[in-house]
Symmetry: C2
Subunit: 492 residues, 2 copies
């Protein structure tokens, strides 16, 4: 892979000065056209030639319109990043649709250093490759275009540069210890780098190796690749119009039929059990904080199934500094500028803390599927994207619990009518609730497939009988307590 980038490509001053103004104009025009599309363009700039990568970045900054680009250079992780799943730092800074972001360093490089220093076994490397390709594929499926530049210098050029740096000659004041180590370990590093590139190059996101021995060639070639990426994004077809709502009949029996809605708890049994569970949860949450075990709770369920009430019984057992509740509704105009998982990734809390989602990313395969707000191709691929997301959480030491609160249609209607009658509950009942009721069977079908395709050993679905509110609350608190006991048992 690297041999093709060691052939001595050069660009004369004359050719450069002819090409430069055309390139600048094309880049700026392409940036403008990009703004009307739904594609973010992510330019990864990596390479064994770190000063060269910075040079490319600086040149792109000069040639493009900086008002519409952002640059993120990834150094050692901050505390906030260390306390979160690895890819959180990238999700946090993804560009919005129609914009360009430059990522210097980033996920491309991290496994190399680790592998070199023997810190990452081959198995870990494989897992990394898998995560990278899934991450890029999910974004590309949503319209993102990647431009992946590997800025490459042949070994003898590295040695020449370091010789100059040793004598403090020329433009070498940027050279630092990492560059020395790259040169010293070149023979071990190059094959690892090539393997990384080969295994993470994909049709939608291929690596471009740029020969960096001649700076003019390096910069123009890089810019040409960026221009290609912009043009590719501009040429992408518009998003498929979401079709009519899915109309598959509800399977019989469905997973929901197996939920025993007669389950109930007497009041005089409920109070002491709730009290005991809340005290226990308070202690377990503190233990989770000490052991740096993160907790993410997801609550889904029928309208009026009692999600709010269950959540409050959980939070009343916790210290307000250790949890947050995030209510989820239809995505805002801002949130639609990103992949649908973006807004959930950003909420992931630090290790040791708890986050409660009141509705969640499952909206993609529930309301968006049933109401036709997402095209079938979109919600169909959501199942595996969700599983990949949840796997990242669990691998990062997260207790992830997913609850579907189940009631029957009669109980739901009873509660709707009670809300109508109670003045301060009126805001909790709208036409939409009644319309959703009309889609009961479509929702059953959606929930059935959701459980079928996203209930995994590490993150199973808990279907909670919620006709009786007391039973549901105790059941949920017990499930959380058991999971936290389990997760905080092993000493770190």
């Amino acid at each position: 892979m690297f041999e093709a980038a060691e052939v001595g490509q050069k660009l004369s001053k004359k050719a450069y000065s002819e090409r430069e103004p055309e390139l600048r104009l094309a880049l700026v025009n392409a940036q403008y056209d990009l703004q009307a599309t739904r594609s973010p363009v992510i330019v990864l700039i990596a390479g064994d030639d770190r000063p060269g990568a910075t040079g490319v970045l600086n040149q792109l900054h000069e040639w493009m319109d900086g008002r519409y680009t952002r640059t993120h250079a990834f150094g050692p992780p901050t505390e906030a990043e260390r306390l979160r799943p690895l890819f959180w730092r990238y999700w946090n800074v993804l560009p919005r649709r129609g914009r360009v972001a430059f990522f210097l360093g980033s996920w491309a490089l991290s496994p190399l250093a680790a592998r070199l220093e023997g810190q990452m076994q081959a198995g870990g490397f494989d897992r990394w490759i898998e995560r990278v390709t899934r991450f890029e594929r999910a974004l590309a499926a949503d319209g993102a275009v990647f431009v992946k530049l590997w800025i490459h210098l042949p070994k003898h050029e590295h040695e020449k540069r370091l010789a100059k740096a040793r004598k403090k000659q020329g433009d070498t004041w940027r050279v630092d210890e990492v560059d020395w180590r790259i040169c010293d370990n070149y023979d071990a590093l190059a094959p690892l780098a090539e393997e990384l590139l080969q295994r993470t190059t994909t049709p939608e996101a291929p690596w471009q190796v740029v020969e960096a021995s001649d700076a003019r060639h390096r910069d123009v070639a890089s810019a040409e690749h960026v221009l290609d990426g912009l043009e590719q994004a501009i040429a992408l077809p518009a998003r498929a119009a979401p079709g009519p709502p899915a109309s598959a009949p509800a399977p019989t029996p469905s997973v929901l039929d197996r939920v025993d809605l007669s389950a109930a708890l007497a009041r005089d049994e409920y109070k002491p059990r709730l009290d005991k569970l809340q005290r226990s949860l308070f202690k377990l949450a503190n233990r989770a904080d000490e052991r740096e075990v993160r907790t993410v709770l997801v609550f889904e369920g029928w309208d009026a199934a009692g999600k709010g009430g269950v959540i409050r019984r959980v939070t009343h057992a916790l210290d307000a500094r250790d949890y947050r509740v995030v209510p989820i509704a239809a995505p805002s105009a801002e949130q639609l500028q990103y992949h649908y998982l973006w807004r959930f990734w950003r909420e992931i809390p630090r290790a040791g803390k708890m986050l409660i989602f009141d509705r969640s990313w499952y909206g993609r395969v529930l309301v968006e599927r049933v109401e036709g707000l997402a095209a079938e191709a979109e919600w169909q691929r959501a199942y595996s994207e969700i599983n990949a997301f949840e796997q990242e959480l669990v691998e990062a030491n997260t207790v992830l619990l997913k609850f579907w609160l189940h009631v029957d249609p009669d109980e739901q209607l009873r509660r709707f009518q009670e809300r109508e009658r109670t003045a301060y509950k009126k805001y909790k009942i709208t036409d939409e609730d009644y319309r959703n009721r009309g889609q009961w069977d479509a929702y059953v079908a959606a929930v059935h497939e959701m459980v079928e395709r996203t209930s995994t050993p590490d993150a199973p679905w808990h279907l909670v009988p919620a006709n009786d509110k007391r039973f549901a609350r105790v059941q949920v608190l017990e499930t959380i307590s058991d999971a936290l006991k389990q997760a905080t048992k092993k000493r770190r």
Copy 2:
């Protein structure tokens, strides 16, 4: 102050069950009406009764519509917060207009603990009081309403609770070591707390001391105060319509007249000086990182004065992981939901890093003043709010440098015409640029007053002759280098 909250206020079960539904309805209705206003409502919940404060919070969560409230409980600062000015953590989570946020703990309490443990001298306490009152006043002037609740338990009630906790009786499993310390140090703490409340209570943001011995009274009284705050916000007059643009004549001479626009640098002198300055800046930036000295650079100036080019000469000397450039334009719809300084506060980087603002908060007193986008009352108060903001930065170990790049109208026209002629520069010239030119004198007046009112010893304005681009670049780099040398000289 506390005696009035030790009179034994109680609420019977009957009175409570009559009042509760009315209160809930009023709160929810008020939340709805609030959404149409420009007022964020910030509810601070503090007090010597920490379990009581949590109880109030939980009850408000139940009584209000949680889709439109956010809660922030402030514990020990995270690394991100420690590496930034103290108030950054609060600016970062302010609610938007029309929404409510609960702040548990927060700026009210931090000086108490420090003072108690002798860590904060009386002078530090005075400075804290000043910052708090300025912070609240700036937000209130922008339409925010504060509800400040101090949840208070008389000493004998604290002792009673701890006695129960010792015997593990009743509802005392939340009680922790901090509560013990509060009780043990009650006699020293209470006068300090009263002093804090008296000195930070203001007409626009008064403290309400809530007697907490009876939980029903505590919760209803707190909710009544929140309701009052919501109704106060709803009753606020709409924002004054921004008037016609300011039409004061340009003072003669103005500060800009003193700038020597004939200053120039020959090319053969420029290249070696620039090179030397960039190497030096690279080292100084690393030293600043080690010494945890933050750098914030602000670039303002006439259109086409060369801000972009100067900024690139600075960034070419830096490691991409240690700086960011933030281009500032008219505030977005999202940003208008907050105080105008909010978007700048959020960008403040960690200690040791550099942030470059390409245009800045000075837009308030420049374009917004000249074009009448802000009412006169708004830009008039901006000068002191800006000074207070900059003082916070400087006190948090920031090198803050403000540059106005100055050209004369003929040079500006020459550059406009050059942009028209050069294809890839055309995007950099718009009708707006020509319209701004028509307001030259109004801008001179605005710049003159800006320099007059916001050039402080800690953060002076640097007026840079920029007719000659080379001179301007070298001048700016020298100013930055000198400032960093000075700031990193003293050992921490």
